[in-house]
């Protein structure tokens, strides 16, 4: 069962095409990772999915209903099933409101405020470690961790079925990042949520997502089940990205591939395969023909004329763990 489908999405800002024909499918109850470097369009996709950015082309389907085909009223109702966790949770809280009114906001907006519903929200807040004594505080009186939890409870108070998390662990110390990720997973299982996790942190994505899509310059270059994709990337960009990840034990990730050149500007993408200028395996064909995202075995897709072999794994240690 699909929670959300994005089909051939195009997102433009004036003349700049930030996202160019991206299709994504988020299954119910799963965590889908979206990774890529700055300017690859992953945040634009998040904004489009939650309704902050219009799609220039393509469709968004939420629980079987396509937004582009329903009435604006229905569209609004569907849109509310998706909530966004902002990269900077403290900044996403209205600065002059108390925690109490912030948490009640989703109910007030829909006019569905009842004491029972409010009690349920409070219960949720307390269950994830927000004491009632915090209710009368303003956002600037909260610690970073508390603000994060308030933003999370507020998003959940809107009773979403899909959560889009934009860099949820950005700026978090490693000793507390696990806390948040554990909590997110527990909530997903308890409330039957589906997550779209947007991050540049490959360690986190590799550990908590079920499937992953890799973006480069506004397009998806590779997608598939996370574990398989991390072990044997098919796209040279994915391979380079994974090998660039700094891990404690360099022997685990195999030889580092250092890409030459810089990230091209999305306003003027290279011809053919957008990655060809930095690709260590580029052939003449790559600068002319645009590779399509093609499905392969094991639910994997790759957009490359000469994909790497996924049959063998990069290093034997990788599986042995």
């Amino acid at each position: 069962m699909t929670a959300l489908t994005l089909k051939d999405a195009v997102i433009r800002y004036d003349r700049l095409t930030a996202v160019d024909g991206v299709s994504l499918e988020l299954r119910r109850g799963e965590t889908l990772g979206l990774v890529g470097e700055s300017g690859c369009g992953k945040s634009s996709i998040a904004r489009a999915i939650v309704g902050l950015q219009p799609l220039a082309d393509g469709t968004l389907t939420i629980e079987g209903e396509t937004l582009q085909e329903v009435s604006s009223q229905r569209k609004q109702a569907l849109q509310r099933k998706i909530q966004l966790l902002f990269q900077d949770p403290a900044a996403s809280l209205s600065p002059r409101m108390t925690v109490r009114s912030l948490l009640a906001e989703p109910l007030k907006i829909r006019g569905t405020y009842t004491p029972e519903r409010w009690a349920r929200i409070l219960e949720l807040a307390v269950s994830i470690g927000l004491g009632e004594q915090l209710l009368s505080r303003c956002p600037h009186q909260l610690s970073g961790g508390q603000a994060r939890r308030v933003a999370l409870v507020r998003a959940l108070a809107a009773e979403p079925s899909i959560i889009v998390a934009d860099e949820p662990t950005a700026g978090l110390d490693i000793s507390v990042q696990g806390d948040l990720l554990n909590l997110l997973r527990a909530l997903r299982d308890r409330l039957g949520l589906s997550y779209l996790l947007i991050s540049h942190n490959l360690n986190v994505v590799g550990r908590v997502t079920d499937r992953v899509a890799v973006m480069y310059l506004g397009q998806i270059v590779e997608s598939g089940p996370t574990a398989a994709l991390f072990r044997a990337p098919a796209h040279p960009y994915t391979q380079a990205l994974l090998s660039a990840n700094l891990t404690l034990d360099a022997s685990r990730r195999g030889e580092r591939i250092v890409l030459s050149g810089e990230l091209p500007s999305p306003s003027n993408p290279p011809s053919g395969c957008r990655f060809h200028k930095r690709c260590p395996f580029a052939q003449p064909k790559c600068s002319i023909d645009v590779p399509a995202l093609q499905a392969g075995p094991g639910e994997r897709s790759v957009a490359c004329h000469f994909p790497l072999s996924t049959a063998s794994v990069v290093t034997p240690q990788a599986i042995a763990g």
């Binding site: 909530q83 809280l93 209205s94 600065p95 002059r96 809107a158």
Partner: protein, 277 residues
């Protein structure tokens, strides 16, 4: 209460609070504390020097200057607060609307602001009053128009600064209607600097009103306005300096008080300045 204490710690804060409080008190309690009626004429006592009967002397009609100044505070404060209230409300509405509207509407509103502000405020007020005629009501309305762009500009700039901030976007994602976002999330977060501006504009309005009255285009005599008093004092300056001196001093006290209060308020609100204390 802590806000007041904080205010009084600013440079000039104590003086500002004192001056403004005194002015308000005097304006409210005018009939109780004025020793004479503001318009009580006593031709026998005209142009007297300060004495025990008339602490600040009398004018050319023998009216008690202190009493007229006290009632003048009422007029000054009444007019300036009404003007600020009207222009602030209209300015904030127009400013927010402009910032959140499509480009064409925004440009139109800003264009109107530009036209209004391109004239010096006193000249524009003069011209408007000359066209529509003097009198209390007209003065309040017309001077308000002059001040709308002040507030409109700041409201627009502040709204633009926060309109794409995450907390506004978070409300949109939650499905909040536009009016709710504007009323609950935009306005409370832009209003601080606007109140500061209002405080700093009050003395300007007082002087404009005084200026208009001085030129005979403001409040009609015999109503005691500081501008009228200054005008009378100016006419008889060679015979008695007291009226001009004391009405001028009241004006200075009021303008200085509000201006310093505005500055102190700004320092208190601005968190960047707060930390340096």
């Amino acid at each position: 209460m802590t806000a007041l204490v904080d205010l009084s710690r600013r440079p000039g804060g104590t003086f500002a609070l004192f001056a403004v409080a005194l002015l308000c008190l005097v304006a409210i309690a005018a009939p109780l504390i004025a020793p004479y009626g503001p318009n009580a004429i006593a031709p026998a006592n005209r142009l007297m020097d300060p004495s025990l009967q008339h602490w600040l002397g009398t004018d050319h009609l023998g009216r008690d200057i202190l009493s007229r100044l006290i009632f003048g505070a009422r007029v000054a404060l009444g007019i300036s607060l009404s003007v600020i209230a009207i222009s602030l409300t209209a300015g904030v509405i127009l400013g927010i609307a402009s910032a959140l509207s499509p480009r064409a509407v925004d440009l139109a509103i800003v264009g109107i602001f530009d036209v209004v502000t391109s004239f010096p405020s006193i000249i524009l007020a003069l011209a408007l009053v000359a066209v529509f005629g003097p009198g209390l009501g007209n003065v309040v309305l017309l001077v308000s128009i002059v001040f709308i762009p002040h507030f409109g500009r700041v409201a627009r700039a502040q709204t633009i600064a926060i309109r794409n901030s995450p907390f506004i976007e978070a409300e949109k994602v939650l499905g909040a209607q536009s009016w709710r976002v504007i009323l609950h999330h935009v306005t409370p977060n832009i209003i601080g600097p606007i109140f500061v501006l209002a405080c700093m504009d009050i003395p300007v309005v007082i002087t404009i009103e005084a200026g208009l009255s001085f030129l005979g285009l403001g409040v009609r005599p015999p109503l005691a306005s500081w501008g009228n008093l200054l005008n009378d004092g100016y006419t008889y300056l060679d015979q008695s300096p007291w009226l001009a001196t004391f009405s001028g001093l009241s004006l200075i006290l009021a303008t200085l008080g509000f201006a310093l209060l505005g500055e102190a308020l700004r320092d208190t609100i601005d968190p960047k300045l707060r930390r340096t204390l």
